[in-house]
């Protein structure tokens, strides 16, 4: 497994173990509409910090495990995979932003809007790293 595939897996796992539980909690127990709602803001801050810590520790571990591979610049296949992943993630993100920015403001607001926007950004990230992992697995 190449260094870039490992980092794509790491990013996917970090998203799954942080924003997965966050959105599950938000779906089960939706925050009240009052703003700024510091409890909800605090929960989001904790999730974002935990994600950063997982990514930081993971990247550090991967760099120490195979320093030569980590130093190697992206080759043409890495760039092609990244381009494919970015294209698909862009479609998800733009669809999400149309929903959040052009449709939802007429029906809802507050944290529902904020969490939907966060969910769309997370979904686009999942698609990005998912497509990258899939392409690396298929040797495409």
């Amino acid at each position: 497994m190449s260094h870039r595939e490992k980092t794509a897996w790491l990013s996917l796992i970090a998203l799954a173990v942080t924003f997965g539980p966050y959105f599950a909690m938000v779906a089960i127990n939706p925050p009240d509409g009052s703003l700024p709602n510091l409890r909800q803001l605090g929960l989001y801050a904790v999730v974002a910090i935990v994600q950063l810590l997982i990514l930081g520790a993971g990247h550090l571990y991967l760099r120490r495990a195979s320093p030569e591979e980590a130093r190697m610049p992206a080759d043409e296949r890495d760039r092609a995979i990244s381009q494919r992943a970015t294209t698909w993630a862009y479609y998800v993100l733009i669809a999400g932003m149309i929903v959040v920015g052009c449709i939802m403001p007429f029906t809802t607001g507050g944290w529902t809007l904020v969490n939907t926007a966060l969910a769309m950004i997370t979904a686009s990230q999942v698609v990005h790293y998912g497509i990258a992992v899939l392409n690396y697995r298929r040797q495409a």
Partner: protein, 73 residues
């Protein structure tokens, strides 16, 4: 016209002192995994990378890569 690209990289590596995929990759600026994907026919390299591979083995491009056309009705 449809077709597929095949290659002789594995044989050429063998005939050049059993060069490893990592060694070949290092000489042409590709990762070992990319060389493995090219060898397996899963990834078609850029023209520049193809020429570099041929240059490493000191053979013309057509000795490394072959295009097999499939005539469709």
């Amino acid at each position: 016209m449809q077709g597929s690209i095949s290659n002789n990289i594995r044989a050429l590596r063998f005939h050049h002192g059993e060069m490893s995929q990592a060694q070949l990759g290092q000489r042409i600026g590709l990762t070992r995994q990319t060389v493995a994907a090219i060898e397996a026919g899963k990834y078609s390299p850029s023209l520049e990378a193809a020429f570099r591979i041929a240059q490493v083995f000191g053979v013309p491009l057509t000795e490394v890569f072959q295009w097999q056309a499939v005539e469709s009705d």
